[in-house]
């Protein structure tokens, strides 16, 4: 049954909500759901809509959410309320005393989901909820169907909200452009509307408008002009989009590398266990999320922000432990710290594997990090955006700690001249431990963010360690700003290379570039120059 018919039927249904229910058609319609076969379910939807039953919207909604149940024995259909209570699908009456265990769920597939979305979406064009109307208009734009023109026009007539009206106009333009019918002026208007929208879908529809068999020369010209204009806009946006991807990849690199910039760059410890600190941060996030879900479910949205200090403390404490037991015996022997921390990294990996098992742990995204939004032609995913913001915040905080706190001052003093600092009464051992803890703690924080985009598994750290070293070395050891520029620069370069070179070649090209660059500037992008360094 075509979608428009559903919309029309639903409109009728809305208008006639008060009309008495016709029991028999509803029961027939619902009977289809009990067959447990997709084609039957499909027919059930059509018949249910056609029946005009007052429970139809509730039943369809329940079907979409997987709350529609049936009793295979009695062939009765029920839907579960959010509270868990059962209602009879035919009457809407509360169905107490039905054993839930005996009921089976009406199964869904993508075809059914699409059909439901269209059915409910058509209904939503007239919804009092503005957000629903916008979403429905968007759906109509993406699935242009000439038969829905009437419904759109009807909605346009009633729409007062400017944004919703614009969305409806675009949906209408999509329908007109793709239908290959309608008066010339109407088509030209549609092309103009689509040009203004200027995205990939618009380009696709404009091309269809040009290809329509009865398109007049004027329409054809307008369409081809519109297409090239959209293509140009798109290529500009694409460049911006790549830059954004690069920025977001760069901030992941930065986040992973920034702790290393302290332990390796400032303290001279080649910390191969750095990746494991990231991994520990991610596992802390996972544990905390489970803990919150179990004991304070109301706070589950906040478990990620809470995980930030927790991961810092856990990874930092482990870092201090490693420094006190292993690293402190190895200062001045950077290449040996490499060997020892490699051993530490094996132990930590296996410890986590033994404690949590070798498989991935789920860390869910809080609502504010889900989904995406558009900024002009730029699509920005919320999760990535928060990671960029978070990374920059961590970087800024670190700068403040290093520059403006007594600890930062002492740490810089110790790294610059250990003996002098010691002579001035600074406890260098304590500063070393704290500095290593700081670097590890920041790695732990990185783990919180990476749990949002990557596997939380014992191998998590391994995939970042090499990249992190490249970033720190490329940026110039001992220079946090160098690390920042290197991470973002490499991220953006990677993302501009990827579209035409492919992911693998882009990565190889970046590595080769770093190797060549180090030949040119053996101490990285922002090397400290002068005698002091070489002495």
């Amino acid at each position: 049954m075509p979608r428009t018919a559903i919309v029309a039927a639903l409109l009728a249904l809305l208008c006639a909500a008060a009309a008495p229910a016709h029991a028999a058609p509803v029961d027939d319609a619902l009977a289809h759901f009990t067959a447990d076969k997709f084609p039957e379910t499909d027919r059930g939807i059509d018949e249910l809509v056609a029946s005009g039953a007052p429970t139809a919207p509730a039943v369809l909604g329940a079907l979409g959410d997987g709350r529609l149940l049936f009793d295979p024995g009695s062939h009765r259909v029920y839907y579960a309320e959010a509270s868990g209570a059962l209602d009879d699908a035919a009457t809407g009456a509360r169905a107490d005393g039905v054993a839930q265990g005996a009921l089976k769920k009406v199964r869904l597939n993508n075809g059914i989901r699409s059909k439901l979305a269209a059915a409910l979406g058509g209904l939503d064009l007239l919804s009092p909820d503005r957000a629903k109307r916008l979403a429905a208009a968007d759906t109509a734009f993406h699935t242009p169907d000439p038969k829905s023109l009437a419904a759109i026009d009807a909605a346009l007539g009633r729409e007062t909200d400017p944004a919703a009206k614009a969305a409806l106009l675009q949906a209408r333009a999509a329908v007109v452009a793709t239908s290959g019918a309608g008066p010339e002026a109407d088509r030209l208007g549609a092309i103009a509307t689509l040009t203004a929208r200027g995205d990939g879908d618009a380009l696709n529809y404009v091309n269809q408008a040009a290809a329509a068999p009865d398109a007049s020369p004027a329409v054809k010209n307008a369409a081809s002009a519109a297409a090239s204009s959209i293509r140009f806009t798109l290529s500009l946006w694409q460049a911006l989009q790549n830059a954004w991807y690069g920025l977001s990849l760069g901030s992941v690199l930065l986040l992973a590398a920034i702790g290393l910039a302290i332990t390796f760059g400032v303290m001279g410890v080649i910390n191969m266990a750095h990746g494991e600190m990231v991994m520990i941060g991610a596992y802390t996030t996972y544990l905390l999320q489970d803990l919150v879900a179990a004991h304070a479910p109301a706070w589950s949205e906040a478990s990620l922000p809470i995980a930030v200090p927790a991961a810092f403390l856990v990874a930092g404490a482990i870092g201090v432990g490693i420094e006190r037991t292993v690293i402190r015996f190895l200062y001045g022997r950077p290449l040996e710290t490499l060997l020892a921390t490699w051993g530490v990294s094996l132990i930590l990996q296996q410890a986590v594997r033994t404690a949590f098992g070798p498989d991935n742990r789920p860390v869910s995204a809080p609502r504010f990090m889900a989904g995406s939004f558009h900024l002009g032609g730029l699509e920005i995913t919320a999760g990535r955006m928060w990671i960029v913001v978070f990374t920059l915040a961590v970087f800024a905080a670190l700068q403040v700690v290093l520059r403006a706190t007594p600890f930062g001052l002492r740490m810089r003093a110790v790294t610059q001249n250990r003996r002098m600092a010691s002579a001035m009464g600074i406890s260098t051992g304590r500063i070393d431990a704290l500095a290593f803890g700081l670097g590890s703690g920041i790695a732990g924080i990185a783990g919180v963010a990476l749990s949002q985009i990557d596997n939380v598994s014992p191998n998590l750290g391994q995939s970042y360690i090499i990249d992190s070293f490249m970033v720190v070395v490329f940026g110039g050891v001992g220079n946090l700003w160098g690390t920042l520029v290197a991470a973002l620069g490499l991220g953006i370069a990677d993302k501009f290379l990827e579209p035409f070179a492919g992911a693998v070649l882009a990565k190889i090209a970046i590595l080769v570039f770093i190797v060549l660059f180090i030949q040119k500037r053996p101490r990285g992008l922002f090397a400290l120059k002068g005698r002091a360094v070489e002495a």
């Binding site: 869904l108 991935n360 789920p362 990535r384």
Partner: protein, 436 residues
């Protein structure tokens, strides 16, 4: 105990072979009596531990159960577990150790194609049996290997058939996305040939390969989105390997690609991988397997209960390669009983034709090509991390070890029954030994 003694001896061997070669090397006489050893060759550390550790556990459970039933031919089975550590040459070394030092009667192991390729020469040379439980690219048919996972036609092709059907959304445009190694490459080549045969134009197929462990999917997912906005129903066929899947699906969710817009059907994502993901944004994306944990049969329910009891963890998931080991192990037991011996050669011969119950309510039979018959299920990812079957093949599918859609292998068949006894018999030339 016995095993540790063995290892101590190996230890000595390694340490002093240079200095005192002559004093060593007395082979251990195979103690025919109480126990028969079974090798378990799965990575417990390194990148593959994530997938393979479970298979080690399921083997321990199966062997344990068999022993409780009185063992095989009156002998107790003993699992010899080693860790090849996701290191391919180490797989070969461990396989050789299991066969020649521990004298195992058969091995159950490997996950990646490369690990199988690495141990293959060892199994051939020392004439032992390997049960390989993972779906793979096909194009292989060895006498010493029994392939209990799916060949491409037992997974990939039914999945594509489903998506092309009205039920699956009548997909017209295809993205074949995979990790850059042999399984995705071969599967995609087969699919590409198959799709073209079904009238799909070349410009409606996009093929993309990414490195192992790819974690930044922004560009590729946005490319898929762009490819999918050309006005034809588009689907993604994913042969992306284990680790890279989580970031891939997370990016799909982030970029708001819903299953109703562009469904993704994956061949390497099982319950175990989903357990590590928040599946709410993924509802409706598809997987194709020969077994789902959610399959509602008494056999499966009992298996899951035993698994939970054995691992003392009521949350442990089950998955397709586990079922493959279940089938493979039972087939081996049955073949040993049929042959009346643990010796490799008679057991290899006896295995052909053995039919054992699978977990989805039917029987799987070991075919002359050393692959097994399987039903194929298409499942939808549910919010609970389980797969809900949306479609299944009407009957069992026989594996095509040599794909008829590939130029090099279309004339080949494998049949290890006498008198043919050949893994790559050319039906056109009427002789054993490949295409030429």
């Amino acid at each position: 105990m016995d095993r540790f003694a063995m290892n101590r001896r190996q230890a000595l061997l390694g340490a002093s072979a240079l200095a005192a070669t002559a004093t060593l090397g007395a082979p251990r006489a195979f103690a025919a009596g109480e126990t028969v050893k079974v090798g378990v060759l799965h990575s417990l550390s390194g990148t593959m531990a994530i997938s393979e550790t479970t298979l080690k556990d399921v083997m321990l459970m199966l062997i344990d159960e068999q022993n409780k039933k009185g063992g095989v031919l009156g002998q107790k089975l003993e699992a010899v577990v080693v860790d090849p550590a996701s290191n391919w040459p180490l797989f070969a070394e461990k396989a050789r150790g299991l066969i020649s030092q521990d004298k195992v009667a058969a091995c159950f192991g490997c996950w990646t194609s490369v690990s199988r390729k690495s141990v293959l020469p060892v199994f051939k040379e020392l004439d032992n049996i390997l049960f390989y439980p993972v779906q793979y690219e096909g194009e292989e048919c060895e006498r010493n290997v029994f392939y209990t996972g799916a060949a491409p036609n037992q997974q990939a092709i039914p999945a594509v058939d489903y998506l092309m059907s009205a039920d699956g959304g009548a997909v017209k445009r295809w993205v074949l996305a995979g990790t850059d190694y042999v399984y995705p490459r071969t599967t995609n080549k087969i699919l590409e040939a198959y799709l073209k045969l079904k009238g799909v134009a070349a410009e409606d197929i996009m093929i993309n390969y990414t490195p192992f462990g790819q974690s930044d999917w922004q560009t590729i997912v946005s490319d898929i989105k762009k490819f999918g906005s050309a006005g034809k129903k588009t689907a993604v066929v994913s042969t992306i390997n284990g680790d890279a899947n989580v970031p891939f699906y997370k990016e799909l969710g982030n970029q708001n690609i819903k299953a109703t817009d562009i469904p993704v059907v994956a061949f390497s994502v099982g319950e175990e991988e989903l357990a590590g993901m928040d599946t709410k944004p993924l509802v409706g994306h598809l997987t194709a397997w020969n077994y789902f944990e959610s399959i509602d049969t008494p056999e499966n329910k009992s298996f899951i209960d035993r698994w939970h009891a054995f691992t003392k963890n009521p949350k442990r998931t089950t998955n397709d390669p586990m079922e493959a080991h279940y089938i493979g192990f039972n087939a081996w037991v049955k073949a040993v009983e049929k042959a009346g011996t643990f010796k490799a050669d008679p057991v290899i011969d006896a295995l052909i034709g053995v039919s054992v119950p699978n977990l989805s309510g039917g029987f799987s039979t070991v075919m002359p090509n050393h692959h097994i018959t399987k039903p194929v299920y298409i499942g939808e990812i549910g919010a609970d991390g389980q797969m809900n079957t949306v479609w299944q093949t009407p009957g069992l599918v026989v594996a095509q070890e040599w794909s008829p859609y590939l130029e090099g292998s279309k004339d080949l068949i494998g049949d290890w029954r006498k008198p043919m006894s050949c893994g790559n018999y050319n039906v056109k030339l009427g002789k054993c030994g490949g295409a030429a």
